[in-house]
Symmetry: C2
Subunit: 111 residues, 2 copies
DNA sequence: TAATAAAGGAGAATAATTATCCTTTAAGTT
DNA sequence: AACTTAAAGGATAATTATTCTCCTTTATTA
């Protein structure tokens, strides 16, 4: 299986059936939900698009291109922001869902 | 009507029926969607919780308490982050959905 | 006022997710 | 190995959220 990055349930189901052809969608949901509950997997809810799942990693920014639907991670340290947010709010933070949307470079050229 | 802050469809429907008792849910969705498309209203997708709507305002951080479901805005300037994200990715950004989750101060006290 | 367009309403249809209930598989014990 | 119990999986029904269809009502303008 190739590196998955971000994948939605439908895609994941297709992928998994390659190796476990009899798995049912209900089972997939059950397992995904268990893993999300234990923070092994993170669900990223994205406006206008199906939820995406990714292996949980350090907080980071997601970029969504509203034109071509490209969805990528941005390598940019958000810890300073989280620390500031935490100290200002007194929240004990352990999860983040940061999605910025706009138009990617390629789509800007296509005008 | 009191200041709404963040509201989900169900709550909004209840509120609106007070003044427009005959409005249907379909109409509400149509109008909301039109306003979201024109960026008058922003939909905030939140893990484990129904989507929330808010009047569109400058990019900001949302905090979700996973214990009591409190959902609030955090007054913290995120423009530096957005600028950095934009210049690093060459995206033209115009929308943000930033949700940090954890445990609020009150819930931390509750052991 | 008649003609046309725009918005709304009711409920059907669709899509995503969860729940139910039964079967299969696995693990542990004697 | 056979028996017992628990855990996981499968099929499908049920639920929920949202969108679509189609018809009616309201508004606009000639």
């Amino acid at each position: 299986m190739q590196a998955m990055g971000h994948i939605n349930i439908e895609e994941l189901y297709t992928q998994i059936k390659v190796q476990f052809s009899s798995i049912s969608l209900a089972t997939l949901y059950k397992n995904i939900n268990a893993m999300v509950a234990n923070r092994l997997i993170t669900e990223v809810k994205v406006p206008n698009v199906k939820s995406k799942y990714e292996i949980t990693k350090d907080p980071h920014i997601h970029l969504l291109c509203d034109t071509c639907s490209e969805f990528i991670d941005l390598d940019l340290d958000v810890n300073p922001l989280l620390n500031e947010a935490s100290s200002k709010s007194h929240y004990e933070l352990y999860g983040s869902c940061i999605v910025l949307s706009g138009v990617c470079e390629k789509c800007q050229e296509k005008v």
